[in-house]
């Protein structure tokens, strides 16, 4: 399980928790999220904004 961070606003997508608010189930991998999905915080698009893989502290 990995986490990905929006480089615009810093919002973090955590594969382990998913994003149930928008129907993305816990455990959904980043590559399985639709390309037209966008950052729940700033609206940056998945395709447009680089997301970085972050390591767990």
């Amino acid at each position: 399980m990995k986490s990905w961070q929006c480089l615009v606003c810093g919002w973090i997508y955590d594969e382990e928790h998913g994003w149930p608010e928008e129907g993305i189930a816990a455990g959904t991998r980043w590559q399985d999220i639709p390309d037209d999905w966008s950052c729940p915080d700033c609206g940056a698009a998945k395709a447009d904004f680089e997301m970085i893989e972050i390591t767990r502290a």
Binding site: V8, C9, G10, I12, D36, S38, C39, D41, C42, G43, A44, A45, A47, D48, I54, T55, A57
Partner: protein, 391 residues
């Protein structure tokens, strides 16, 4: 390399210096006690009580030691000596610099007589957000002065927390500095539908506290509003005093060219503190937006390293109020024609702004994918910058 200001512009610049291969010393100085954090949620998720302060942190705590960047928090710069090229930190020995970046941001304009009144807040920092958040208890009467972006966001957060919320605004409609009335109207309607008392054309004259701690705001016509908590959200001023005292050109903000250069050799500036060239309209202006400050920080670092790169900013920002996501880019107020498409009442629509046939701005309500495309299109219409580098 010394960077004053550890907000998004300064911290991005410090990281970019390292990422670009600079191996010398980097000192990043911040006035606040906190390591760099995300400001946008302070008036959104954090103030709604949905996010912990911990989740606002921008980088992992080992980032600075790992990259050998010296982060000084709770540190105020007393002066800049441009002749000796040193930064005076007061109690510490003067810090020498080869290149200096000023990324000192902006601060909310206080209400002249009210900054010492208990219950009167401004919102910019995590500390201020915490203090305000503690007072947003159910039933509390909140008065927001100013229906700009921060004012509306605070109002929406407070309604979600069951406060009684009133917003007063001097302009004819909310977000008047950003949007024409027809485009801000759906947001105004949303606030009213959710129980926010929104009054425009209100020219506040006095704000005072009674013996019982109740705050009273009175306008020129004698109307008054009582409140337990007041948020003053009437725009910001650039934190440019330090630059001005050091002799740098300051006009509203620190004046920079497209290459982040100030009037003083070796000193650069980036982010909300700057007055920078407007990519479309000419002249200089401040852009008080997160994304601009982030990009400006990258460009400043490159120029500090002698790698000329122009910053041609397309202003853009986002907000999130009562579950509605609004994204704004470009120059909506400079348009000669506006086109609306979609369902305005359902807050599912796009407004595009045109000037002499060119697309110069866009606003999307709950349409992030479309916004991305429009923003990209507008970037393509911006005038190209000649590649000669700084003059």
């Amino acid at each position: 390399m010394v960077v004053i200001g550890n907000g998004i512009a300064g911290s991005t610049a410090a990281l970019t210096l390292r990422a670009e291969g600079y191996r010398g010393s980097i000192v990043l100085i911040g006035q606040e006690p906190d390591a760099p954090y995300r400001r946008p949620p302070l008036s959104k998720g954090f103030l709604r009580g949905e996010m912990a302060a911990q989740s606002l942190r921008l980088y992992t705590s080992d980032t600075w030691t790992r990259l050998d960047i010296k982060l000084l928090t709770s540190t105020t710069v007393a002066a800049i000596d441009t002749r000796r090229r040193t930064v005076d930190l007061g109690t510490r020995a003067p810090l020498p610099y080869d290149r200096l970046l000023l990324a000192t941001g902006a601060y909310p304009r206080p209400w002249p007589s009210a900054h010492r009144l208990a219950g009167v807040h401004t919102l910019r920092t995590l500390g201020q957000a915490r203090a305000l958040s503690r007072q947003l208890t159910p039933g509390a009467r909140l008065l927001v002065i100013g229906a700009g972006m921060i004012g509306l966001e605070v109002a929406a957060c407070a309604r979600v927390r069951d406060c009684q919320v009133t917003v007063i605004e001097a302009a004819p409609h909310p977000l008047a500095h950003l949007l024409p009335a027809e485009v801000s109207a759906p947001l105004t309607a949303l606030h009213r539908a959710r129980g926010v008392g929104l009054h425009t054309f209100v020219h506040l004259q006095d704000l005072s506290a009674g013996d019982n701690g109740v705050l009273t705001a009175t306008d020129r016509s004698g109307r008054s509003w009582e409140a337990d908590v007041v948020v003053v959200a009437t725009g910001t001023r650039a934190n440019a005093e330090l630059a001005g005292e050091a002799g740098l050109a300051v006009d509203d903000g620190i004046v920079v060219d497209r290459y982040c250069a100030t009037s003083e050799p070796g000193i650069f500036a980036a982010g909300d503190v700057t007055s920078q060239p407007d990519a479309l309209l000419g002249g200089h202006r401040r852009i008080e937006q997160w994304a601009n400050a982030q990009e400006h920080g990258v460009v400043a670092a490159l120029n500090m390293l002698g790698k000329p790169m122009a910053h041609v900013p397309l202003p853009w920002c986002w907000t999130d109020q009562f579950g509605t996501k609004v994204q704004i880019c470009g120059w909506p107020l400079a348009a000669d024609r506006t086109r609306l498409s979609g369902d305005v009442d359902a807050r599912d629509f796009t407004a595009t702004f045109h000037r002499e046939g060119l697309l110069i701005g866009a606003v999307c309500f709950n349409r992030p994918a479309q916004f991305r495309d429009l923003r990209h299109q507008i970037t393509l219409t911006l005038p190209a910058v000649d590649g000669d580098g700084p003059g």
